[in-house]
């Protein structure tokens, strides 16, 4: 490293007591997405079951926010990086060890946790639909998938002198049909344009059933996923099983982006990233789709 501590420095470090300063607790929160197929036995035999973009939530068994739903996560331990913490929690809670995992922000607003000064690094995780195995439920542990829905309910543009602000209000809905539970939140996103760059801030307007500021973290995770998907389509492959049809892939993209895509254009864009297999679906009540797999060659920058 080109640097060797002097004897004086070693002496300094020996006597250094880091506990003299105020310190926060450090946690990670993981927004873990997966694709699941809706189960509805009453459905028309011809129609394909729609896919659901789902998020894993955990019911809190203890204070604070007892009985509310929170993102999986936990406290960082000394000697591990936060990426280690996130991988460990992911493994413990879903047995998944090969998920896509990336941090997208540090949440450090004062007052975000009633227990005190707790900052949290937020991770986005995408898991293959077939890979996960949820940890068994206990009194203090109940992990469930919720279908995630996000809509923009209001958009405003304000101009005052040199300053322009754009405001979006989002309605976030997490639904678990089996439990008959719906969590809802409204979050305001405010983009302030000062000179030529934007400063974005978020404010939770209402939050029903979510613990802490997790509604905001989930929104931010979703928007991060959406932006990545817009910019480079490959991230959505992390939500797919080994083989898949192009229509499934398109449906996943549409759920993430929140809008319909034109099929020919989508297929053209995906063509270099996938390889056709010999297999097809069958017994689906209509022309069966071919199965594709990822084209590994396409991803080495």
């Amino acid at each position: 490293m080109g640097y060797t501590a002097s004897p004086e420095e070693l002496e300094f470090l020996k006597n250094y007591d880091i506990r003299q300063y105020d310190r926060p607790s450090l946690t990670v929160d993981i927004a873990m997405f997966a694709i699941r197929a809706e189960e509805d036995p009453e459905r028309d035999y011809r129609k394909d079951p729609p896919l659901e973009l789902s998020l894993l939530m955990i019911r809190r068994g203890s204070f604070p926010y007892k009985d509310c739903w929170a993102l999986p996560g936990g406290f960082a331990k000394p000697g591990e990086s936060t990426a280690d913490t996130a991988r460990r929690e992911l493994q413990e809670e879903t047995s998944v060890d090969n998920a896509y995992l990336r941090s997208f922000d540090l949440f450090s607003r004062a007052g975000r946790d009633p227990r005190g000064w707790i900052v949290s690094e937020a991770f986005l995780a995408l898991v293959d639909a077939k890979d996960y195995r949820l940890r068994a439920g206990t009194d203090a542990w109940d992990a469930r998938w919720f279908r995630i829905g996000l809509t923009v309910t209001d958009t405003k543009k304000e101009i005052s002198g040199e300053q322009i602000s754009l405001t979006n209000e989002y309605a976030l809905t997490l639904t678990n049909t089996a439990l008959d539970t719906v969590l809802t939140a409204r979050v305001r996103e405010k983009k302030l344009f000062d000179r030529h760059h934007e400063a974005v801030s978020y404010e939770i307007l209402s939050s029903e059933g979510f613990a802490f500021d997790h509604a905001e973290i989930i929104l931010r995770a979703f928007l991060t996923l959406r932006r990545q998907t817009e910019q480079e389509g490959r991230i959505a492959f992390d939500l797919m099983p080994e083989t898949f049809t192009l229509n499934m892939l398109q449906e996943v993209h549409e759920m993430i982006l929140g809008r319909k895509l034109l099929t020919p254009n989508f297929r053209r864009k995906m063509a270099p990233m996938v390889i056709e297999t010999e297999e097809s679906l069958s017994g689906v009540g209509h022309r069966p789709a071919k199965l594709y797999r990822r084209n590994p060659e396409a991803f080495y920058v």
Copy 2:
């Protein structure tokens, strides 16, 4: 918020002692970039003075890493967010209060600070060339601008079975001519492609004159700036004064991107983002360039 703490929960919180768990210290480190013009009185009167992309560094007056150069920054205080901390430090150290400021990662690797468990949120800051005023130097405080240079010295591609890795080795050089000081570091960037997404890791191979892991933070800040500039040109405006020539702007882009750009294409791309003013440079020994300013209309998404 739709959530009211029950009496039991309030009782729980009253008795909750957060200090029972291990906690890290939390700091922010700020990679602050500015454009400065090289001063060289011996230069040919016709030739324009080249611009320099500069980074602010602070000489450490105390242990650890005494006499090494570190990024400006400091410890987060309870009751403020890390963005507040960064803004406060920026203000104290350069008197700048309108800089572009964004965090790009949390550095939490074990052992990164010899004083103990210290995690640091790293910020990228871009300041307008004319705005900053450095805090006066003292024994314990010496802030200086260093010209930053980054080159790729080696690139490797390794294939072993299903796994492919790309390795880049970067040479980072910070130069301050007045002090006759050069800081150098070599950092290895390793991209591991697993299935179809990449996991990037960084390793400091050598580090001369840098404190802590700041060579790595600086490299990451530079790469972040570079990526943003590739993706949307507007971020570079944060480094520019109110009015500027298109050639200056192009030079700034070229320094950030580390490659030459074709002038007609660059001007075409920038055209919607700038407005021509009435003024020009003068007395420059050749055809003078028109001055431009930002076009605010272009930046409201």
